[in-house]
């Protein structure tokens, strides 16, 4: 991903409406994002564009998403939480 696109994404991850997402997405950008392939990165961009509560519901498992790649990235976000916690 080009610098400009990454920095735009970064801003949209570190300045959310909900503190929970600020923390979760900032951590993922610093820790897990670089391991994503291009398609997964685009799925993450789309996830980051979701409304805050919709994204938080996906991350906490209260909601599911049909798109298989987005679903895969959500699973990584969830997994990333546990791994970071250990």
């Amino acid at each position: 991903m080009e610098r400009k696109d990454y920095e735009r994404l970064r801003w949209r991850c570190i300045r959310r409406a909900l503190l929970e997402l600020d923390i979760t997405l900032t951590r993922f950008l610093d820790d897990g994002f670089s391991s994503l392939d291009e398609v997964q990165q685009q799925a993450f961009v789309a996830l980051a564009d979701l409304e805050d509560y919709d994204l938080w519901d996906l991350i906490t498992g209260k909601a599911e998403i049909d798109d298989p790649v987005m679903s895969e990235v959500v699973a990584m976000l969830r997994k990333s939480r546990v791994r970071l916690a250990e």
Partner: protein, 594 residues
């Protein structure tokens, strides 16, 4: 350097609840209105407000605005201005009904009225018993509110500048506010917004604290800009705290955890609440628990490397009960503390939640400053509403659900006042030649500095200083040291350096600019808190205890007055509290107890 100039009747900085509500008034009055926001409007922090909005609609039981007014004055520990409080409580029904007409999906009663629920501190008949006054849209009131108001603005042709960061106020030689400089983040281009009215609705600055429930966006940009333009900041020592936020992260842990049997422990694993509240123990009231936690930490019995948190232990509870009754807690522990709370205690700390002080305003939303003995001299062309402003309705302590009411009432009021002033024929005043110089110089200094201070480290130093020295329970010696420390941090904050020099989407630069705003708020808070030698509302000092002469440590003889911190020379003056409501009798001073 030639800077582009965009001309509007009104420019509003901030697209949360107060900004959007102001914009509706201006755009619907046919005025050309710009709204600047660091993020897409529905990502403003108003989204996080869940509780509801207070209005004495009386849909579920008898209620009256005078009762709401009484509760708000009492909640404020008598520091709120009673004219502003009357204004807000009387306007509440009107702004809630308007919101409903904008399409806000309020919860409803079976007969179709707006459903109302009780909320802490809201009572009927002047403090007699709890009343159902909060109007909500499930637990997403702020979110629904922003959507309804954003749509209304789209309809009214408000022009949004999304992912733009306002940099500095522009004032002319006579002190009139005539716009702002702002940076388009996508290009790094600085632009002048030349306006006839400038409205700040930039929210709070809760990120000055290490532990804060506020989203990262709450960096006090409006307060920083006002301070740099020589506007004093009012009552900045008053911050509302919640006793149990996850240490470091700030995410709230519900009081229900203690209700289910959670125990607070210090570094020796001692159940310290037994010493502070032998009967209620861990279930004592919020302020008692917060003070006990702060005392344990101050006296060196905190946990962790920095000894700066205590532990909330639920490991003795049945895991099945925890998972059933406290479903979110396990997840919060893992996500934000790295702790499995079924096996280990959670690190917690009293956590900053809401800023009661701010830019001094009249209840009309006009910004006012002291001048020639008049404390309420209007700054022409400048208005503010919401958490960044201090009208003052929350005084020393805010009641739940009054924050959403504040942003609706004073957002609207600021918009109405601007419309009134502009319809009176106020023309665009000439831009000074150096209108953008201050902002450009700040950016150039950050971009070009070598060997300066790191933004992240400076922010952390500020947050730790604020948390340790001006937290929920305050100690005279700690506040004195805190003033010295924060002035040291300020030196670093004036010398920030960034590695990325790019023009487009330079988030490092944006964070550095935010840091320059945060430090103004932190400094104002520390110096104002050190100066106020009493306890009142959320400002509680160890050296101003509860005595017969001064119940709860409140000293009305000397301290029934608003603090005005001058950022020009770090000095403090005081202005009287307005105890005279608009049409009713004064709510007389008495001890605040529930």
């Amino acid at each position: 350097m030639s800077i582009p100039v965009l001309k509007f009747d009104a420019v509003i900085v901030g697209a949360g609840g107060a900004g959007l509500r102001s914009a509706i008034q201006l755009s619907e009055a046919g005025l050309k209105t710009a709204v600047l926001s660091k993020v897409f409007p529905t990502r403003s922090h108003t989204v996080a407000a869940q509780g509801g909005v207070a209005a004495s609609l009386g849909n579920s039981e008898e209620d009256h605005w005078t009762w709401h007014m009484y509760d708000t004055v009492k909640g404020s520990d008598w520091l709120g201005d009673q004219d502003a409080i009357e204004f807000m409580c009387r306007k509440a029904n009107e702004v809630v009904v308007e919101l409903e007409h904008y399409g806000m999906p309020f919860d409803r009663t079976d007969d179709g009225k707006i459903y109302q629920r009780p909320f802490g501190g809201h009572m009927s008949n002047f403090g007699e018993k709890p009343v159902r006054r909060s109007c909500a849209a499930a637990d997403r009131t702020g979110h629904a509110m922003l959507h309804a108001m954003y749509q209304r603005n789209v309809k009214a042709n408000t022009q949004f500048f999304v992912e733009w960061m306002a940099l500095d106020l522009i004032r002319d030689e006579e002190g009139h506010v005539i716009g702002v400089t702002a940076m388009e983040m996508e290009t790094g281009q600085v632009v002048i917004f030349h306006s006839r009215a400038t409205i700040f609705a930039t929210g709070g600055a809760g990120r000055i604290y290490y532990s804060s429930t506020n989203a990262f966006i709450n960096t006090g940009d409006g307060l920083g800009m006002a301070a740099r333009a020589g506007i004093p900041l009012e009552d900045m020592e008053f911050w509302q705290f919640h006793p149990t936020g996850v240490a470091g992260a700030g995410v709230l842990i519900t009081e229900g955890v203690r209700g289910e049997g959670g125990i607070l422990r210090n570094s020796s694993k001692e159940r310290f609440m037994e010493r502070y509240a032998p009967n209620a123990k861990d279930l004592a009231s919020r302020d008692v628990v917060s003070r006990a936690m702060a005392t344990e930490i101050k006296e060196g019995r905190g946990c962790g490397v920095n000894k700066d948190y205590v532990l909330l232990d639920i490991t003795h509870l049945d895991p099945a009960t925890i998972m059933k009754r406290l479903p979110g807690i396990h997840e919060i522990g893992i996500q934000f503390a790295g702790v499995d709370c079924l096996k280990e205690p959670l690190p917690v700390v009293p956590t900053c939640h809401y800023q009661m002080g701010g830019i001094p305003t009249h209840y009309s939303g006009r910004v006012v400053v002291p001048q020639n003995g008049d404390f309420n001299t209007v700054v022409p062309g400048f208005y503010a509403g919401g958490e960044c402003a201090c009208a003052s309705v929350h005084g020393a302590n805010r009641l739940g659900t009054n924050s959403l009411l504040d942003l609706l009432v004073f957002g609207k009021s600021a918009g109405d006042s601007a419309v009134e002033d502009l319809k009176a024929g106020k023309a665009h005043r000439d831009l000074p030649k150096d209108a953008a110089d201050k902002a450009l110089a700040r950016i150039a200094a950050i971009d070009n500095r070598k060997g300066g201070a790191n933004v992240h480290e400076t922010r952390l130093a500020m947050q730790r200083t604020m948390q340790d020295h001006a937290g929920v329970f305050r100690f005279g010696d700690m506040l004195k040291q805190g003033v010295e420390k924060i002035l040291e941090v300020e030196k670093a904050a004036r010398q920030l350096e960034i590695k990325d020099k790019s023009m487009a989407w330079n988030t490092a630069r944006s964070e550095a600019l935010e840091m320059e705003n945060l430090i103004e708020v932190a400094k104002a808070t520390m110096i104002s808190a050190e100066a106020r030698k009493e306890s009142r509302g959320a400002h509680v000092r160890d050296d101003a205890p509860d005595t017969e002469e001064f119940p709860n440590g409140r000293n009305d003889k000397e301290w029934l007055k608003h603090t005005l911190f001058s950022p020009v020379d770090n000095s403090i003056t005081y202005k009287p509290v307005n105890l005279q409501p608009l049409t009713v009798e004064t709510v007389a001073l008495k001890t605040r107890s529930y």
